[in-house]
Symmetry: C2
Subunit: 431 residues, 2 copies
């Protein structure tokens, strides 16, 4: 075997994460809490490859994402491939592909990893995971409501209080109505929504300047509307069906006990494909005051496949921003090993007894690791302790003869002498 000339770095690729068992524990915990909620609402899991034909993103993902932030390359067969930067185009593609075989409405979820070429910083990595929850085939506002309720319930399932976060809601159609009143054409409407989307990321001056370029002498009147939901709604008219729809969603949420909801007319969401309701969950902690995740209605995305219209609403919840939120609010659990018992041996000659005992306990559903070293027993126990395995048993002459075992709880130091049959109940006591 050839030796390499130069040592290879042990660092991961820039901007991505290694998940050591402790990190994986947190990730698995988060995904489990998400799964519990979405499955209780009747959603089923699907999956897809991270590799997609690049054309999938050229239509509606928003220019910045496609041009500057994707991992795109040519494969060895000269095909343009992209590592998916988001899941919505993929799920829309899958729904369009099997449209005839599926019975709508369908409720689907997935927890894919997604890729963006970004400068790594807090909350931004080049590969992240994102729960995607989508409901296809219903135009009912009950579908919008359901999806927002799921988002809320996931936060609650993490142990968050209502005061820890806020649900901000808008409707893209309300913005469109407003732009119509200012006689904006499609291009200018699009530009204005992009400017409003960036409002909190740019200076007040830059924002006002950008609005003025589009709206000219109407800019100052428009700025006033932006500061007051009431004025905006009065301007559009409270009988406007889109306004009514939005008010109805907020009222419905409130009456079902979800009261941390506000109408936010400046909420746009980055993706171009949203057509109606949009919402975002914001952290209310002053130190982490920002969007955790969001979603909305996208009734026209299947158009890009020339498939008939298919109403759809959903959201994506990223692991990095979620973990930041949980950390800020002290909601992350402490690491626990899934291994519950470590069996040590006083001498190599007890190997087969150790194996046999471990195998019996495994058949009862216990997760058991055995020591393979020729270290002293004290050092074997230290290994278990460092690996956060809660219980140990040591096998020697006595244990083999008497078939009795001292089981030690490493957290408390407590020892208990038990028969083989009693071991499992010490580790998993019946409550």
């Amino acid at each position: 075997m050839k030796k390499t000339a130069k040592a290879i770095s042990t660092e991961p690729y820039k901007g991505v994460r290694d998940f050591y068992p402790e990190d994986m524990y947190i990730q698995k915990y988060m995904f489990q809490k998400m799964r519990e909620v979405v499955e209780s609402f009747g959603y089923i899991e699907y999956g897809a490859s991270i590799l997609e034909p690049s054309e999938l993103y050229q239509a509606k993902s928003g220019e910045e994402i496609v041009n500057d932030q994707t991992y795109s390359f040519k494969d060895r067969g000269d095909r343009d491939v992209t590592l998916r930067p988001e899941m919505t185009p993929t799920v829309a593609r899958m729904v369009a592909r099997k449209k005839r075989d599926l019975s709508f409405p369908i409720r689907w979820y997935s927890i894919p990893n997604l890729f963006r070429y970004e400068q790594p910083q807090r909350g931004r990595v080049r590969e992240h995971f994102q729960l995607n929850v989508d409901l296809f085939g219903s135009e009912s506002i009950n579908a919008d409501l359901e999806v927002i309720k799921i988002a809320y319930q996931i936060m609650k399932n993490f142990g968050a209080k209502d005061s820890d976060f806020q649900i901000r809601i808008n409707d893209r159609k309300i913005a469109s109505e407003l732009y119509k009143l200012y006689n904006l054409n499609e291009t200018d409407s699009y530009k204005l929504s992009k400017v409003i989307d960036k409002k909190n990321k740019i200076s007040k001056e830059s924002f006002e300047e950008a609005v003025e370029i589009i709206l000219k002498d109407k800019a100052s009147e428009f700025m006033v509307l932006l500061t007051s939901n009431e004025k905006l709604l009065t301007k559009i008219g409270e009988n406007n069906p889109n306004v009514k729809n939005l008010i109805s969603i907020i009222e419905n949420l409130t009456s079902s006990g979800i009261t941390n909801v506000v109408f936010d007319q400046t909420l746009m969401r980055g993706f171009d494909y949203y057509t109606g309701t949009v919402f975002e969950i914001f952290d209310t902690n002053p130190e982490n005051k920002r969007s955790i995740f969001g979603g909305g209605r996208y009734d026209e995305l299947l158009d890009i496949f020339d498939a008939p219209k298919m109403p759809a609403v959903g959201f994506g919840m990223g692991d990095v921003t979620t973990e930041d939120f949980l950390e800020t609010h002290n909601l992350l659990p402490e690491y626990k090993s899934n291994v519950k018992l470590y069996i040590c041996k006083l001498d190599e000659k007890y190997s087969s007894e150790v194996e046999a005992l471990a195998d019996k306990l495994r058949k009862k559903g216990l997760c058991v690791a055995i020591d393979l070293s020729d270290k002293k027993v004290g050092d074997q126990i230290k290994t278990a302790d460092k690996q956060k395995i809660p219980f140990v048993i040591c096998i020697g002459e006595d244990e083999v003869k008497k078939k009795e075992f001292k089981i030690k709880n490493l957290a408390t130091g407590e020892e208990k002498t038990v028969t083989e049959d009693e071991i499992a109940s010490v580790i998993h006591p019946i409550k």
Copy 2:
């Protein structure tokens, strides 16, 4: 919003798979069965990004893989990136990176997706998933034994009989001993092992020719050894420590009840990093007679990071070959939805009652979907049936008034009238 000029294809990228809920069900089933076994042996899960610096694979993965089969490209920062074609270099990198903090031996597992640019065909796709099980920090043959036992137990956990598969074992060191007897230098030894590895993929003539080029006039004597384990072992000597080691592993497996094991001196495994025991699980079905998965000992892989020597043994079990095996042997389960109840309504006005009932049942841990359409009740029930949801309840005037519900089992047609509190026990009867 701009329309695209040309409809985008709904096909996935060439050689990768979409996982619709039915496919995902199978995948989740397989991963669950694998997890049960590896966790019972005390292994804990880790993860990593699919993106790795390309240099990681340039050392020891084997030439074919690196040069012809990887997805490699330059990122926007001119870094060479590769989509991992296998997990072992990654886990070795992670272990080397935190070597000081980890308490050895460590038992780790992961189920990553891996990428190879191959011509798609049965059992070969461009993205597949693979259970990776690795034990670092033990030179003991008990470590080799444990890993082989896990492989065996996973097969059993899938419901396979001993006669459905065979475990073939070899030791790279035995091959090395043999090459020494023929005075082969390192380069020729490497070449010969590659030729033997390809034995079953090339014609008898090509194989003999390739052996002759390396061994010249000793070729025919060597060919005789290859046909008989007994002759090979006699040639090397039964007291050779490597021969003794291998025999001991096979005897130990047999005595612990694993009898479908054979010594296969032609077993090499493709990767260059193996240093000792190698093994493969073969399907014995005449229609699918091939390797399902395998692994071995790789004590020198951490060398590439200039890290001190770290003994390691493990295996990788791919989802595609495993699914083929399970399919061939009729061991795949039938699809079941995780959604257990579908609530229909006789009229839109009962929406809030439907919501309220669903929410109460969800709090009890039931997975409940509600109908959002304005279809006739019969069509709502059809939706549930097509989605393989086993139970339905319909809400109308009567149900709202009496607080009694008819719960229908769609498989049997059986109906039962129950109170709200009794619904959960009909769906999950206590056995």
